[in-house]
């Protein structure tokens, strides 16, 4: 799995390419820690190339929700495949983590915050 990050205006974009599992989730953890310490407020996760997610990947997203709330940081995922979205849905995480269709919608949503 490869993670790329970039800044677009006010948005911090995280692109995930590959499988987010027990072996690779540490990379997402490191990326989100850096985003928090850099005080990024609007995080957009591009899941176009996210092929697979296991509980380890879900767990990393979950573990930052409290800090994001305390820091007034917003996070949105976009372009999540059906099979990956279903994994979020099994645990009801689709109600706790914002998932939208595309980057435009993600930026529009975060611009209002």
């Amino acid at each position: 799995m490869v993670i790329n990050t970039l800044n677009e205006d006010l948005f911090f974009i995280i692109e995930i390419d590959g499988d987010l599992d027990a072996s690779s989730s540490i990379q997402l953890d490191t990326t989100l820690t850096k985003a928090l310490s850099s005080n990024e407020k609007k995080i957009i996760v591009d899941c176009s190339r996210l092929n697979y997610i296991s509980s380890a990947g879900l767990g990393v997203f979950m573990s930052y929700l409290q800090d994001f709330e305390a820091n007034n940081t917003q996070m949105v995922l976009f372009n999540v495949s059906d099979k990956v979205k279903n994994v979020f849905k099994v645990l009801g995480l689709d109600n706790l983590i914002k998932i939208v269709t595309d980057k435009k919608e993600a930026k529009g949503l975060l611009a209002q915050c």
Partner: protein, 140 residues
């Protein structure tokens, strides 16, 4: 096609297990989403065994076998790591995990929600998990 795979106990090898399951089940007409869920359940149990029971020791081996019977698919996950039976453990509350900023603790819960049954047995020196998914199997 092989219906059994052995991997060294490191999480880097989980993708080999997923590939093995996907390749093996490609002969059946299973919807992509359902196949992903089945793969996920096996992956979760393997990850738990590798990390917690085998301490990611690559000298230890983990075996995954796929069988089918009249009711559906049976997965056997076998290794010589530390035995524990967490199948009667109560599922954690997601909101509590978030509050505690915990990254772990949902793998078994996911596997339980996907599979119809999960059993663990100690057969010295092995611990064997048996996962059953009831499914009408049709060849492609």
């Amino acid at each position: 096609m092989l219906d059994k795979i052995k991997i060294p106990c490191t999480t880097e090898n989980l993708k080999e297990v997923r590939k093995f399951i996907n390749d093996n089940l490609s002969k059946y007409s299973i919807h992509e989403n359902e196949l992903n869920m089945i793969t996920l359940a096996v992956d979760e149990i393997c990850a738990n065994r590798i990390i917690h029971s085998n301490k990611s020791n690559r000298d230890n081996q983990l075996e995954v076998e796929i069988l089918n019977n009249n009711e559906g698919l049976v997965f056997k996950i076998k290794d010589k790591g530390e035995y524990y039976d967490n199948t009667s453990q109560v599922d954690p509350e997601i909101l509590n995990l978030i509050k505690d900023k915990r990254k772990g603790g949902i793998g078994l819960m996911l596997a339980r929600k996907i599979m119809d049954s999960i059993e663990v047995k100690k057969e010295d020196p092995y611990t064997t998990y048996t996962l059953i998914k009831k499914l009408k199997l049709a060849q492609v």
